[in-house]
Symmetry: C2
Amino acid sequence: MKPELKNQYEARARIIKAIAHPSRLFIIEELEKKERCVQELTDMIGSDMSTVSKHLSVLKNAGIIGDRKTGTSIFYYLKTPCILNFLGCIEDVMTINLKQQGDVLKLCRRKG
Amino acid sequence: MKPELKNQYEARARIIKAIAHPSRLFIIEELEKKERCVQELTDMIGSDMSTVSKHLSVLKNAGIIGDRKTGTSIFYYLKTPCILNFLGCIEDVMTINLKQQGDVLKLCRRKG
DNA sequence: TGCTTATTTGGCAATTTAGCCAAACATGGG
DNA sequence: CCCATGTTTGGCTAAATTGCCAAATAAGCA
């Protein structure tokens, strides 16, 4: 693979990697509804605030979310709502997987 | 976060994680064009065949690709083409990021 | 200035991931 | 059966990721 093409794929992988975490998926969906500060998200997720803060910085570095300072709070918002379309496709993958696992199960029952 | 909801997010994150690698992104796009065997993909990517084989098994376990045995070769194919729509969104994120970096640059020049 | 609230950063241990090599496994042909 | 071809698996090391705690930073207010 040519280095130039490889860079392209690496850049895309970096962004996808930023999405690929349960808490970060939750944050993305939550921020689609409304902007939120670190403490609110921390309460919802239930891990340490420093952990949530780091997740937010991962998403921010990837360019997926932005932030806005108000007083002592920092509100985060979703910059690219198209991310959510993509999440729909992930649901499709999961549905197909479930269906196929079901088929295998049926087959086993028929044989047994 | 409730354990049940957490499982949902973990399941989705697992699938996205499977996509989040340069070589695996390449494989997905290549398989959309036509099905391919391990050796063909190995030649295109340029890493060890065992490495490519492992990438393929990651994608297969995630339910994104399937395989078909023919003689001594195993051909892999894309099971869920909707994955590609999602990749379009990643492009959008990258474009926005580039644009904003450009704006910052312009601002610096204006000030300097 | 000192206090409180909100958030980030540094550091550390545990876990996961990546990629190479060598060895094992499968399949078709002589 | 033995060999060649195509693929996967095991083992290993290096690197990245995660999450917690404690400490540092920032901003508003008495």
